[in-house]
Symmetry: C2
Subunit: 366 residues, 2 copies
């Protein structure tokens, strides 16, 4: 963890007129403090202030875990006992911020904690998502972060290279998925984040995971898999064929390949996120397939599987070097089949670099 | 899933003067609707109303997954497209609830969704944790829930029975933990929830997980493990010895056994949760060990690893038949060793039944 992240967060708070961030367990906390806290019903909360006074509030029995994490020097750790109300510590860590502080609340902080905090702090306090501040930092990756994403990408590519050998008629999606999960760990991830094996008509549901459906000759199979490696995510989708391709599949897939390539071709510094989405969508629209592309083109990736920037209509954010996100158009024909091609990319000074490089055409099983 | 849970939730809302529940992905949603939603940055929200009008709001591309889940008949599913704001659907599902509705918000709903909802709904709406309503249902388990917890308990007992064979000097906690994780799945859990192997001084941190520390002769080892089976949790801690016991260990462990037994002996319908905590604590206090018992005696368990009722000082809740929770006193001597004995129990008509039955004394490795 880079030691100056709290300092940069405080700078960003001052620029955005935010008085403090209230951050629970999760990616923002890991990013800012290096602390991989457990998501517990006992509150863990980082109070990071624009005036550079930072407090980490932890349950007493988590204090050893927290202090084992090489926390930043300028972070004071305060703990509370089993029968104490941690909200008192939050109020004290926020004092004095004036009668109407603007507080950034961790996007994934549990509502039960936010409600307790809202009751304890001044009624004229206002709340906004902490990502308003942290996105400005986390969207732009440091070299060590890009390196971790590259290694995660290479690891998931090695898993995909072994998927054809797992797809045999008669095997269930669940059995194939279990093997893939083992491979994700064997190839160096510390955690399996998701395994989607969408065979035949199941491929037409973009977030179908696994089922007991057995593979059949003539199945198209969407395999979308990811894990984390040194805390950073991998996420890559490839399409496979068990036996012959379904009627019409190869032509549609060629169009999808062109759509994914078009989005990769246009992505570069200064180009908006929505322009990348439109580049893929236009190719599919022209082929009359736009109605079957029912999700955005991509999402940022880093400490979280899905984070800013989102590659979606309406997002006018101009891309910048070191931003990392997926480019993953798909086509879903209900009751027939689905397909999706997904690479993680990093924006360079004049375009993008793909962090996934495996075959993007449909790969025959076996 | 029992089909009348939404109806009982609505009854409970009327009894507690709550107009609606706003529930995101998680245990409350699974309990009330049977829908195991993914925790996504796209909102999924159940709006369950006291007037028996219930709406499930899902992202368009999750609709197939949701509808595959055998949802209750009286639940209307509404979806939103990638570029639509789901908060409009929330406002419409809440209308008309009057100018100052009382809304129960899912305890673990992400703050970013709660803030968006608070902005969109009437400013005189008030918010409370949804668990105020759902705890009344979920604390009292149905027969099918107790059956699932019993099978999960038996499965984790079978894992513990094989732990002594894994604990050999020179093996790391991480290596032992990986083997245990495999066994948790092999014994019928669908998911590993946590694996704690606290060897030697690491055992003195109650939530220490795994490290690269190699086991040594003379280590006491705390092994606290759990998974889910048919959605319901297992959670059982046992203590092991690699070679000889550390100085003083056996006497202290005998006291801990007496403390855990005392809590099990007193637990019965009508007895308060805090009385169960006190029963264990008193035994350790009398032996001068109270200062080393730094956490509550237990937590409820069901669809969540930790849920109501909490067995802790200050909780005056009287126990009732079918409540399920852990009884897990521990002793932690900093820099030396730790120990904890944990069983899941279910309250019967006149006492408790333990769902974990393996040896509670320190078990020699090998």
């Amino acid at each position: 963890m880079s030691p100056d992240r709290l300092r940069r967060a405080a700078e960003q708070m001052r620029a955005l007129d935010v008085d403090a961030l209230l951050i629970g367990p999760g990616a923002d906390l890991r990013y800012l403090s290096g602390y991989a806290a457990l998501p517990l019903e006992r509150m863990t909360l980082l109070v990071a202030r624009a005036d550079d006074i930072h407090t980490l509030i932890v349950p007493e029995l988590e204090r050893p875990r927290a202090e084992a994490m090489d926390l930043p020097d300028d972070l004071e750790v305060r703990d509370f006992a089993e029968t104490q109300d941690p909200v008192d510590l939050v109020a004290s860590a926020c004092a004095p911020l004036g009668p109407s502080p603007r507080l950034g609340v961790g996007d994934r902080l549990w509502a039960t904690f936010l409600l307790a905090i809202q009751h304890a702090l001044p009624t004229r306090a206002s709340y906004l998502p902490a990502s308003t501040v942290t996105r400005e930092l986390r969207m732009r990756k440091g070299p060590e972060e890009i390196d971790a994403l590259r290694r995660a990408g290479q690891a998931i590519d090695r898993v995909h290279a072994r998927v054809p050998g797992l797809l045999r008629p008669g095997r269930t999606e669940a059995a194939v998925g279990a093997d893939i999960a083992d491979l994700i760990l064997a190839e160096g991830h510390e955690q399996v984040s998701f395994v989607i094996v969408g065979s035949g008509p199941n491929g037409a549901s973009p977030h179908h995971e696994l089922s007991d459906r057995a593979l059949e000759p003539g199945d198209a199979v969407v395999v979308d898999i990811g894990g984390t490696l040194d805390g950073y995510g991998s996420d890559c989708t490839r399409d496979y064929l068990v036996g012959h391709a379904p009627l019409g599949y190869m032509d549609i897939h060629a169009t999808l390949e062109a759509a994914q390539q078009a989005a990769c071709d246009i992505a570069a510094p200064g180009v908006t996120a929505e322009a990348v989405d439109a580049a893929a969508r236009d190719v599919l629209d022209e082929a009359g397939l736009g109605g079957y592309f029912i999700h955005r083109t991509g999402h940022g990736i880093g400490l979280e599987e899905h984070e800013e920037p989102y590659i979606v209509a309406g997002n006018e954010l101009p891309l910048e070097p070191t931003m990392t996100f997926s480019i993953e158009p798909g086509v879903y024909l209900p009751d027939r089949f689905g397909m999706r091609i997904e690479d993680i990319v990093v924006v360079t000074h004049d375009g993008i670099e793909r962090l996934n490089t495996g075959e993007r055409r449909p790969v025959p099983a076996g």
